[in-house]
Symmetry: C2
């Protein structure tokens, strides 16, 4: 092994390597296997770093207890669970954010999850009267109003219609909203964790509307939940006839209770609270209803004091998920910087990453499927020299829309708002490798 | 509402409808809301079918307890669980299949799951010495043999490499194998349930091989597990350099213990047991090792008594998931017949469905993403007249390969085999709507 090769390897990812000794090279495969398995008792691998192993030249991998014994049998968990070593990957909340936990929020641990599918167990929660425990045999969905044939469907009836499945993100419009007025959340889980992406299965709302028949002039639909809050939102007919989905499954199984079991609305790419959970009623009308959750809440309070109603689309956005406050750097060297991008208008076309607070940019590559209105994962190799850095990501969607700076966003929207903050986000990396949340306009 | 409209609706999906009375039509929206919410106590919706509601003319949807009370707050489950009403959706096993549960199989409940992502909690299990409980801080992966720079990686080191995410199916080559010699499993869960599809995240094996450098002549890799069985398989270098993935996450979170936590190999599209779980060692060589699990097991015993070694690819296959024995039909009428298709060689191009045992065929449409080497969901409206039927599906992949009949398969492979049964499957629907498993050549 040449010095150049050694340099290449340790330079690329800062990883210690096992020096290949002549002794190891000369061993017969069978001898080596015999040694590594037969001499298990003589090994002291527990807790050894690869550096220590490298120092010991040709020690085989560690041989812990589980390698020499039987594990647990099938159906020990007929419905499986994560390893006990992953118990830290869970939803969390910010106690000062809401008055109680019945009408509150918990956040997805974005720093710990991979790929683009959010595990159902850690999809963020947001609701206004707690999670109802609904018996699907009793639940019904009524479609009425300006329709030719009003209908009440049981779950069994609903699930007989043709269904489709699609991977789509779901984001609360208040994601990051605490930071409009200057609060600095100390974790990625809290700056961006009202965000998820699942495979949703259900019946297209257009299929049901075709079934009931729209009356002339029908142009809006009120969706209403069966929970104690009766959360309701007015949905324009264009969306209802486009891709709105009456969802009964999420990531291959029935909706989780906190996600609307047994049935919810999903408006792909739109602010999450329009995707009414525990859906019990769809009323067709000719104008919006201006209910509480689309007037006093979920509107954008502009600098002049007026409120902008019906900002439905979650515009193009992105965030770096590694490094982040929960996942700092260690020593200088090569890292794979990663993040997530999404747009309520379509596919992500391009993502750039800056390491100097937006002065210069490098193009990232996609490391997942690129699906419309879904999270898209991107990454880029970065050779960190140990200096402080300001890491940002900037996404562009296939409409050509470029994610704005926070300064550009505030120039239009002011600082009164809570909703629809999609400005470029900045992580500051200190020389120690620690990562903190800073605002750069 | 005309009689023609009524007929159209009840004809299409056999669904009872709410007769639209003049009374309902004339009600103001506010009056109606007031009535439906304010008169909750007077309603007796519990257990009412929509038929009963239809008979009561203009009764609003039921108003059960959960609609009038607060539910549970956020973080009641920091890691969420399915509704208690979905407890029947779980892995199951067939007790006569293996001598004990330590080296055994549990099956995915294909009849209950939706879309193409298999929920991690019900992904089938298959292992040979039980599930080890591995501490990721102690686990190591060694890459050695015909490489220029052998290496031992900790999990932290492995996860610093560039990673990618891909949705791919994983199928045990013994899926359906009990039926080669005539056994008739009584559920879809047992005929096809050694099948799953997840989003997998990890480091391409080619990335690691570039890191260690291949010696001249390197052409095979032995992958070995850290469990008590030290399950091992020989993998050709072509696959290793193509899309083989060193996986640490599944459906967005760490691998589940029974799926190889903290790290496994995934050979997309290949027989599942080559995708070694709890991966601890990759040895590069110039020929296959012919270990136990690729000689006495996982080979195809041909009619002449010879054994065909290294049948890696899971060829194009499909199955109807609704109706199935667990999900029978009820009354005659319109149904949406659904199924899953997959091919280890690429994308699914086309699926046909037969209702008369293969005499005539109708083209199904895709109702999910169509991704290479992933499950693909298909569906087709079917107007069941109440007569007995023989339902089959037949998939074609983008290489042009057509899923064979069972007769075509047996003509080549005989009946000695256990593995790689991808013949067209038949469900018999009786006039009662019950569904059973039958063999048609």
């Amino acid at each position: 092994m040449s010095q150049r090769d050694k340099n290449k390897l340790s330079d690329r990812f800062g990883i210690s390597i096992l020096q290949q000794s002549n002794k190891l090279r000369g061993l017969e495969r069978r001898n080596f296997l015999k040694k590594s398995l037969g001499m298990a008792g003589a090994l002291t691998a527990s807790g050894l770093s690869s550096k220590a192993l490298a120092d010991s030249q040709n020690t085989p991998p560690n041989v812990p207890t589980w390698t020499k014994s039987l594990g647990t049998g099938v159906l020990t968990n007929p419905y499986g669970q994560p390893s006990k070593y992953e118990a830290h990957v869970q939803r969390r909340t910010v106690d000062w954010l809401t008055a109680d936990r019945i009408a509150s929020i918990s956040f997805t641990p974005l720093g710990d999850i991979k790929g683009i599918i959010t595990p159902s167990g850690v999809v963020f929660e947001r609701y206004h009267a707690g999670v109802p425990e609904i018996d699907p045999q009793q639940h019904q969905l009524m479609i009425h109003g300006m329709v030719e044939r009003p209908i009440i469907l049981t779950m069994n009836e609903l699930m007989r219609f043709p269904s489709v499945s699609m991977v789509r993100f779901l984001e609360c419009p208040a994601n990051g909203g605490m930071e409009w007025r200057g609060a600095q959340m100390d974790k990625l889980q809290f700056t961006h964790g009202m965000l998820s992406c699942c495979e949703w299965t259900g019946v297209l709302l257009s299929t049901l509307l075709e079934e009931v028949g729209l009356e002339k002039g029908a142009s809006w639909i009120l969706a209403e939940g069966a929970d104690g809050a009766h959360m309701s939102r007015s949905i324009p007919m264009e969306k209802a006839l486009d891709d709105a989905l009456i969802v009964f499954a999420q990531n291959g199984e029935a909706l989780r209770p906190e996600q609307g079991y047994p049935v919810r609305l999903l408006n792909p790419g739109w602010e999450g609270n329009t995707s009414i959970k525990w859906l019990r009623r769809l009323e067709v009308g000719d104008k919006p209803w201006h209910h509480r959750e689309e007037t006093s809440k979920y509107t954008d309070l502009m600098p002049d004091g007026s409120a902008r109603e019906f900002t439905f689309v979650q515009e193009c956005n992105s965030v770096v998920t590694f490094p982040c406050p929960e996942k700092p750097l260690s020593t200088p060297g090569k890292y794979f910087v990663e993040g997530l991008a999404w747009s309520g208008r379509g596919r992500i076309r391009h993502v750039d990453i800056s390491f100097d607070g937006g002065v210069s940019w490098r193009e990232a590559r996609f490391t997942s499927e690129v699906t419309p209105r879904a999270l898209t994962r991107f990454g880029l190799e970065w050779d960190w020299d140990g200096s402080p850095a300001l890491i940002q990501s900037r996404a562009v969607d296939d409409t050509g829309y470029v994610q704005p700076t926070l300064g550009q966003l505030k120039a239009v929207r002011g600082t009164n708002s809570i909703y629809h903050k999609n400005g470029i986000h900045t992580w500051k990396v200190s020389s120690s490798g620690a990562v903190s949340n800073v605002q750069i306009s």
